[in-house]
Subunit: 80 residues, 2 copies
DNA sequence: ACGATATTACCGCTTTAGCAGTAATTACAT
DNA sequence: ATGTAATTACTGCTAAAGCGGTAATATCGT
């Protein structure tokens, strides 16, 4: 299971690889510096849109997975 | 890119497959019924922990992916 | 069509996330 | 060791997330 601490570590890793400080990343993502710090430290009660802005700024994509996801995507195919 | 609307659709699909109503899922996940409705309808400003409780209740796992994730996991290996 | 169940909408209320500003602490160069 | 930049910590404030309760729609089986 992916925890918020894992998410924080992943974001910090990507930020450093990108050569950004927390403040720079915050500006880039359009969020406050406080929440960048919070997320990197595994805060659970952050807002989803805030997290997604940061992930997008670092080119990290979210994926959901389960045994039912195949069936879900087949359902998408019907629409096309 | 995975949007919050996608997340909502995925959750609704899993909930129905599990034979649960929104209220039942809410109780199961330990959250309010309102937020289950909100998330299924793509609300962006939900809290991450709330979303994760619902995902856990439905056995859906979150994954983050990027070109740098391989390098990140190699870093984990050093610890073991 | 009817009744039962589920979903959606709206309501106050309480809690708190996010913010900028600032200060303190830590890390990292030279 | 000293100075510079980065991280962490704290604060007061505003906006809003989440909550249960209730009511209005919508959905579905029979």
């Amino acid at each position: 299971m992916l925890t918020t601490e894992d998410i924080g570590r992943i974001i910090r890793f990507h930020r450093k690889k990108a050569g950004l400080t927390q403040v720079q990343l915050a500006r880039l993502a359009g969020v406050g510096k406080t929440v960048v710090f919070d997320i990197e430290n595994g805060k659970e009660s952050v807002r989803l849109d805030t997290l997604m802005k940061i992930l997008a700024a670092l080119n990290i994509r979210i994926e959901l997975n389960s045994p039912l996801m195949a069936a879900f995507h087949e359902r998408d195919d019907e629409k096309s």
